[in-house]
């Protein structure tokens, strides 16, 4: 079959139009849809780890909350051991009263230094110099044992016990105590 010139021109024009239509279809119709779909998929994929991280965070807190009652109990117990108010107001009388019960009448406690301790947030460390001018070693040792058991936030850092010059049976004791108090 031989095509006439007119037919050839029509076919060429038709082919060109077809190419234009197909190009427009893919570029103007399908293109935005596919790009939109790809963007949605990419965003969706990007959100998955964030959702997983958020869920993980919530789950982790649930696990920690399971462990926290024990920690809260310890912190509350420690807080209950520390009276309200300035340590200078309550610690020396408390110490005097304690030693008085043990038969040691004269006790003097003074603040040596007072410092914040970053390891114990909400608390500070107070160092006390304690003088007991007249003690009997054995009863003093028993009192120290009881003090160490009763006052859990207190630690004796150093001590000095010297035989009395006037009374051979009595000694003079100096203690340096470290105590944890509320900030």
């Amino acid at each position: 079959m031989k095509l006439t010139k007119d037919q050839t021109q029509k076919i060429a024009l038709g082919a060109l139009m077809m190419i234009g239509v197909v190009y427009s279809y893919f570029d103007f119709l399908l293109g935005p849809i596919q790009r939109g779909r790809d963007v949605a998929n990419t965003n969706s994929d990007g959100l998955e780890p964030q959702i997983a991280a958020a869920n993980g965070q919530i789950a982790r807190v649930a696990t920690i909350e399971g462990q926290s009652p024990e920690a809260m109990r310890i912190v509350k117990q420690v807080e209950a051991m520390i009276p309200e108010g300035s340590p200078v107001a309550w610690f020396p009388p408390r110490l005097s009263e304690f030693f008085k019960k043990k038969g040691i009448d004269k006790v003097t406690a003074r603040v040596n230094n007072d410092s914040l301790d970053k390891d114990y947030v909400g608390y500070r460390r107070v160092n006390w110099g304690v003088e007991l001018p007249r003690v009997d070693f054995m009863s003093f040792a028993a009192a120290i044992a009881e003090l160490e058991n009763e006052e859990m936030l207190l630690e004796i850092q150093s001590l000095d016990i010297e035989a009395g010059r006037d009374e051979a049976q009595m000694q003079r004791a100096n203690l340096v105590l470290s105590n944890l108090v509320r900030q």
């Binding site: 958020a54 920690a71 809260m72 850092q157 150093s158």
Partner: protein
């Protein structure tokens, strides 16, 4: 042979031409292609809508989780601080150095012919917690130096049972001119000074016994 004359051949030819009209065939082809492309378009559109819907669901889920996650993070920080503080407080309480056992051990080593005139001691705050003591005293006996030496070795032996790296060395040991009355006899005396050092290691709490499984 009979002669057949087809009088409608022109009509038939026109019909045939009309049947195989390239324009008509092309139009039919175009319609088929257009239907295919339109179908593909709708399939793609449906896929896009599905992807967008899935993204929106995730976005809503994420937006719902953001405040919860922030709240959880703040709560976690607070709880962690509390747990760390509790651990440190517990460690401080459990890791305290107790002087009463030291007094007890030292007192048990002092015989009646020794008088301790001074006891000074301190303990370091950082691990390893080393305790240093200085004991001044007066030993009385026929051989007062031997009495002091017995005291020194007894201290090392007794403290060494409880504490690590226990050492006790004489800082000074001098015979004194003073005499002491012991069991009704006048005996020689020696003045001594002993430096003692040992390391306090916190005893580990025993591991809890494994739980028995409940019998079903």
């Amino acid at each position: 042979m009979a002669l057949k004359i087809e009088l409608f051949h022109e009509v038939l030819l026109a019909k045939k031409h009309q049947q195989y009209d390239p324009l008509k065939i092309s139009l039919l082809g175009l319609i088929v292609i257009a239907i295919g492309l339109a179908s593909y378009y709708f399939v793609e559109l449906a896929q896009k809508r599905s992807a967008v819907a899935a993204y929106e669901i995730k976005q809503k889920e994420f937006e719902r989780l953001i405040p919860l996650s922030k709240e959880a993070k703040a709560r976690e920080d607070g709880l962690n601080k509390e747990i760390v503080l509790a651990e440190r407080l517990n460690k401080r309480i459990e890791g305290r150095f107790y002087w009463a056992p030291v007094f007890e051990l030292v007192a048990s080593t002092v015989p009646k012919n020794v008088q301790i005139t001074r006891l000074g001691a301190d303990v370091t705050q950082d691990a390893p917690r080393t305790c240093r003591m200085l004991i001044d005293g007066l030993a009385a006996g026929v051989e007062p130096r031997a009495v002091a030496e017995e005291l020194r070795t007894a201290i090392v032996e007794k403290l060494g049972q409880k504490y690590k790296n226990t050492t006790a060395v004489f800082k000074s040991l001098d015979e004194s001119n003073e005499k002491a009355l012991l069991d009704g006899k006048q005996v020689q005396t020696a003045v001594f000074s002993i430096n003692i050092s040992f390391v306090y290691v916190q005893e580990q709490a025993p591991a809890p016994a494994p739980r028995r499984k409940a019998k079903s």
